[in-house]
């Protein structure tokens, strides 16, 4: 084996597949009222929070797991999961980074996010969620100066109950669909961001999610509120160790943009996708929804989805305020036996609302990729417009690429345009690149990056570089 092959061999492996031996505190296995009370209790939550959870649990009992999605999966036994798992040393939360369990810091270093250095150098504020609880939030001082609240959800429940109480569950109510409601009942931690009136957040905020313990589900809940005239850019990254079993990740993310506010939410999702034979991997069933509540508000979702055995999510925008804007940029790559059913929903309620959807799907190996989206222009949403473009690229004839857009136009003043194409990398393009001295893998990487360019441009600098690499790595071994 020459060096290049070795390199590829190395790259093929999931580099975040290690586990960390840390003592964990777990809730008893299974899902019932006691477990919910246990979670609420261990997090020292106020009564209203517990009521919120129990209400969701009551509702959950009436709901059935949906099964209309394209990727089918074996039935999940919800009683065979741990709903709470936390590193033991977190029981009494460390006050500063120095008090953190060194092993934890080590883990994050391996993931490429040395928290301490990050605090000093990058100027990106990071909140890291390990299994179920948030372990550290960097850069607090600088943020506090601007009045920005960036902390873990549990901390927010303790310290800013009025904000949490006011906004939690307003975009994704407890009565939503099965997975969202499950999350409302058992969510453990996540990030909370509040940007006060007129403040432009001076740095990118970032969260890193990590599932470590086995047989646990990760249920984080993120809530971002951008008050009038504010701006925030938020990044999210995810990894998990390699395990044979499938693990469930059912997060809820709620965004609320008030008058003239803008939220930019970027995700690089690289959960463990399972091995080449489709064994193991994360089930990524996430509910992300943004509400453009105020006038002239804007929410923009950017996602690079390369990991997970099954990705099933539709980051959505509800354009309620007049003149509000919703955007969705997505790259989804599936290889081997990965499956994805992803897209977005743009619901136009206010006047002069605009939305734009750019989706790029790439499938290789034995994978299956579906874009599913909804554009719904309400009869009151005068003079609104939507533009959708979804392109798919297929590599080989063992994989599938599907497009299922739902278009509903109830307003005669509004325009909807939708385009979709499916193609493969042409022999001419490959030939041209190889003639210029690139090997086939590099050529494919270059062409795919070009195919994704419109989306990669939307990512903040630091993420764009990582995402570009990720795109290349995800497709290694899929050519020839």
């Amino acid at each position: 084996m020459d060096t290049r092959e070795k390199d590829i061999e190395k790259l093929k492996d999931y580099k975040y597949g290690f586990t960390t031996d840390i003592e964990n505190i777990k809730a008893p296995k299974g899902l019932n009222e006691d477990v919910i009370k246990f979670i609420s209790n261990i997090k020292k939550e106020p009564q209203w929070m517990l009521e919120f959870r129990l209400k969701a649990y009551e509702r959950l009992k009436l709901l059935k797991e949906p099964n209309w999605q394209k990727p089918k999966y074996p039935k999940i036994d919800y009683q065979d999961l741990y709903y709470y798992s936390a590193p033991k040393s977190m029981k009494d939360k460390p006050k500063s980074l120095d008090e953190l369990d060194p092993k934890l810091l080590e883990t994050y270093k391996k993931l490429g996010i040395p928290l301490q250095e990050q605090a000093r150098l990058n100027g990106i504020a990071v909140d890291a969620v390990f299994d179920s609880v948030s372990v550290a939030t960097t850069f607090k001082g600088e943020l506090t100066k601007h009045g920005i609240i960036f902390c873990s959800m549990s901390e927010a429940i303790q310290k800013h109950p009025e904000l949490v109480k006011k906004y939690l569950g307003t975009v994704i109510p407890v009565t939503d669909h099965f997975f969202a409601t499950l999350n409302s009942a058992v969510f453990t931690d996540g990030s909370f961001v509040y940007i006060p009136k007129g403040v432009k957040c001076p740095m990118e905020l970032s969260t890193y999610f990590r599932i470590n313990a086995s047989q646990t589900g990760q249920f984080e809940r993120t809530l971002i509120i951008a008050d009038e005239g504010s701006y925030v850019s938020y990044l999210e990254g995810c990894t998990a160790p390699m395990r044979d079993e499938n693990q469930l990740h059912a997060a809820n993310v709620e965004l609320i943009a008030l008058d003239d506010a803008e939220i930019k939410y970027s995700t690089v999702q690289n959960w463990y996708p399972g091995d080449e034979n489709g064994k193991g991997g994360i089930y990524n069933f996430v509910t992300k929804r943004g509400l453009c509540k105020g006038k002239n508000s804007k929410i923009s979702w950017t996602q690079v989805e390369t990991g997970s055995a099954i990705t099933w999510k539709y980051p959505s925008c509800i354009l309620k305020g007049d003149n509000s804007i919703g955007e969705f940029y997505s790259i989804a790559i599936t290889n081997n036996h990965q499956k994805a059913d992803t897209g977005t929903k743009m619901i136009h309620l206010g006047k002069n609302t605009k939305s734009k959807i750019i989706s790029k799907g790439i499938s290789a190996g034995f994978s299956d990729m579906t874009y599913r989206g909804l554009v719904d222009i309400n009869s009151k949403a005068k003079n609104s417009s939507n533009y959708t473009q979804c392109d798919s690229l297929l590599m080989g004839n063992k994989c599938g690429a599907h497009t299922v857009p739902y278009i509903k136009n109830k307003n005669f003043d509004s325009n909807i345009a939708h385009e979709a194409t499916t193609s493969k990398i042409s022999e001419d393009q490959l030939h041209y690149c190889q003639q210029r001295g690139l090997n086939p893998e590099e050529a494919v990487g270059l062409i795919v990056n070009g195919f994704c360019k419109e989306v990669l441009q939307q990512l903040p600098m630091e993420f764009a570089v990582e995402a570009q690499k990720l795109v290349g790595i995800s497709l290694e071994g899929s050519v020839g």
């Binding site: 798919s392 297929l394 739902y406 136009n409 005669f412 909807i416």
Partner: protein
Amino acid sequence: MNEQLQLDFDKIIKTLKIPEKEIQLKKSFLKKFIENGFPNRKQEDWKFLDISQIIKKNIGELTFFNDYSLPNKIDPSIFVDGLEHNKIIFINGRIEKIDFSYEDQSQIEINDEIGKNIKFDYENSLIDLNNAFTNKVYKILIKKNYSLKKPLIIYHSTNNKINSKNVNLSLNFELEENSCLRLIDYFSDNTDKNFVNILYNFNLKKYSILKNYKLDKFRNNNLKYSFNNIEQDDNSISETFILSAGSDYFKNEVNCNLNGEYSSAFINGVFSLKENQQHEIRSTINHLVENTKSYQLIKSVLGKNSKSAYQGRIFVDSKAQKTDGYQLSKAILLDETSEFNAKPELEIYADDVKCSHGSASGSLNENSIFYLMSRGLNYQQSKELLINGFLLDVVEKITDSEIRNLVKNIIGLKE
């Protein structure tokens, strides 16, 4: 409703003289229909327009009994003028006349298919209803190398002698090698509030050509459902044109299986809707082998309180390399109460394919209207001219010039 179904079914069986075997078959279809009932919005294919609700609202309770042993009077005033044609006349749920007088009789075979209901591997309770209640299924076979000299028009008609609120028609066509059939479905309704359920099966052998034009133009209060299943062998061509404008409700489904190489399918449709009309086209094209092609173009003009839906699905099997599949739907919404829904779907398992779909909807372009008005037209004229051009685009796709002119006259399009 189920009691009524059973009662009417027993009555029909009594009046019809059919063998026991067929009665049993019909009974099994009825049983299946009773189990499933009318489709509703919970089923993905019926998401946009819920037929069970529409029947309830527009008709109320359906009744099913007609005495099929008695003939109906044929009213020649419904016939299309200025175009020589063969006829099949279908009145009140009964085929009254099959007339191929322009053709060489030895080249066409017409069989009454007893005990052979059309079966598909497809979940659809309306097909079960059809199979349970059609009084006779005819099979029409066009022999090898024969092209019909004149088009065949099927007249779908009802008159005030009708007893039931539901009629069903089922026909089976087979086009042998290198044959050609031009088929027009022509709807003229003289009664209100019936539910018409039509099922066609086409079997296209090598090099055969089918052209099917469905013309529902005259305003009526009936609800209609039509299902075309088309099986295509090597090098065969099917062309379907749908003018969906007359009925209160009309859903056209076309399921096309491209089983042979170099076969191609074309589906073009025009919705021109006004008060309270709700129409839908749902097409499924299955590309199952290499080198097949499909093209679809659907355009809607939607007036007050009207609603149109287009669900188009292109499926490409992993064997079906070198497929071309194109789909385009456009809609003009004329009123704030009009609504357009679309679900253009691609399901692709092969990599060397060219597939695309597009969908656009909106109001008439103000700039274009301004342009025309600045040339001396008034607002209304400008609007009409733009709509004319918008729809003409689809009508021009009709490959048969005689029929193209007929359709233009029916819609009232100017060149």
